[in-house]
Amino acid sequence: MSEHWFFITALFTAPENIGVNPESMFWLLPLAMSIAVVYKATKLPSIKWSALLKESVILFGSIVVFLAVVAVVLFAVTWVVTE
């Protein structure tokens, strides 16, 4: 028991090795999913698993698409300014 506890607490005492690269942007996906789930859990009048899943996936998709559009626009603006 104490060994397991030590192992679990050790997981949270040293940071993970995450590089500054484009792949690190994928860390936004779990965050967007949790935002979608909690937001829809507060907004639905009654909680039904199927409805919650459907609404959360739609909101998650909307967030990701919006962020992708913003990224493309910013990339275009940067390209115009620097070229």
């Binding site: 949270f12 995450i18 500054v20 949790s34 789930v37 909690v38 507060t42």
Partner: protein
Amino acid sequence: MLRIARENRLLVLLTVGLASWLVPGGGYFILKETKRSLIVFSTIVLTFCVGLYVGSIGVIDTVGATAWYVYAAQIMTSPVVAILGYITAGGGFPVYSRPNEIGQIYTSTAGLLNLLCIVNAVYLCHTRNLQITE
């Protein structure tokens, strides 16, 4: 008599808000919204734990260079954040660069999501009280 009823109502609202802050989803649990409280609890705690896993408990920085509003957002998750802040205050858990950023974003977002749930639970309690008294 009416004044006592109003004070009781305020006390109930405060209890729901405080329970939501102490344990994410606690306010919904008091309001007998068990499914909602389970979803909120598991999602917020998981988000917060992912932030701590990525950046270590060093992302809760009360004395370092972190902006005050990051800690303000983090502490909305639960008072447990204050205990973690006390542990990390000695500077024994240094974390920099991308893990620090991702850890802070995850833990602050968990806190802000819980703030949303606190407000929503208090509002839900308020509207139910109105329905009972009408």
